[in-house]
Symmetry: none
Subunit: 233 residues, 2 copies
Amino acid sequence: MATPRFETIKAHIESQINQGDLRPGDRVPSENQLCEQFDVSRMTARRALQALTDDGLLIRTPGLGSFVAEQRPVASMMEVRNIADEVQQRGHRYRAEILHMESCPADEQQAWLLNIKPGTELFHSLIVHYEDDLPLQWEDRLVNPAMAPEYLQQDFSQSTPNAYLSQVAPLTEASHKIEAVLVEEKIASALDIDRMSPCLQISRRTWSAKGVVSLATLIHPGDRYCLGGHVKQ
Amino acid sequence: MATPRFETIKAHIESQINQGDLRPGDRVPSENQLCEQFDVSRMTARRALQALTDDGLLIRTPGLGSFVAEQRPVASMMEVRNIADEVQQRGHRYRAEILHMESCPADEQQAWLLNIKPGTELFHSLIVHYEDDLPLQWEDRLVNPAMAPEYLQQDFSQSTPNAYLSQVAPLTEASHKIEAVLVEEKIASALDIDRMSPCLQISRRTWSAKGVVSLATLIHPGDRYCLGGHVKQ
DNA sequence: TGTCTATGGTTGTATATACAACTAGAATGC
DNA sequence: GCATTCTAGTTGTATATACAACCATAGACA
């Protein structure tokens, strides 16, 4: 039983939604219809629909049926977004300045966080992201070399580490911490702000199926960036 | 079938975890043990355990059993949490100082945000929340009087507006904005911080089934509070 | 015409059962 | 003593079945 049957059914419906064959508001086959279509028991069909509901793709109503959710689930701010896309979606020009990019041995804490042995070489990048000519984000990132061996060879002037890493090691898990901080002089000058202006600091650890991928500290000037989100139910 | 049986079992285990009868790492009764204990079928017991796993309270391993998760899941920051519960869960004493509590006419913008007519009387509260004797949150809240007519009569020295509102108008939707800011002198002194120290400001609009309930601005000293979260898949 | 009552279809809950995959520890054989 | 095999217990998947709660529609009835 390589992939469970309910996963197959789930994937089938999910792809129909993604490809537009099923549009928001459309009715999805009922549990019994799926039973016949895939030759499974009702509990199995049900499990597929339930999983899609948990993911926010479907809305099920007793007596009525299952329908494709009107609003695709809003990217919670927990979702790891790509700042280049964000900037371009706002209609501005994105560019990045790479300050630092090298391999260095992991100290005790870094090793623990990345789940590697202390002293192992890890990758370190330091990048400032710009919206037009205004610095928008300071990105300090440590990368588990086992997960992305080619990391240092990438060109991050146009793409972003985020985009690259999600390609080579699709993330399955992430933890975040969000704080308001003041920053040291080096960062302040890179972001072109006063040392006394408050910044939003996001510390993020990401996992792929095989383990910890990366450790990132993202710092935004408080007056140029905020996090937003909208949740239903 | 008022409350499903699996909900009962889930609640039972959840309370055991919350009360410390079951500690992180502890083993939870197996599916079969729960079957006997609650006189239900295995699928029902299983469903309770599965729900707890989805909530991040348990970790289940084939061949081994189900165990209380080491890390209590951090509420997604999208989730509207009750600061009183948060403080008490950390084992500290919660108290609140009510600075202001009255009804006043809605101006243009407030009316638009609360979806009421300009000039309508709305409720306004200003509360500082303490962890032990340290100010932890400045809460400036506007409430749609149609949703909670008794709002001004409540005693918020022990409970919180949050808790009260979620009782009288269970929320179905919320939108958030999170920023890093500096605060004015009045707020700084109420929070007992320097005017130059960065703060985390959360602006939150909440809906119930019947419409917009409330508009809150929450301000936390940057060095005393942060938002955290962990997402899987 | 309008109201009420079945009826069929849907999801929600629950049971009893079966087999597969995995783990730890005990029993066995060398 | 050591490695291997077996076994009991656990979770994961799947089936077949049953009844309850809910909804929209069609039909009966006034």
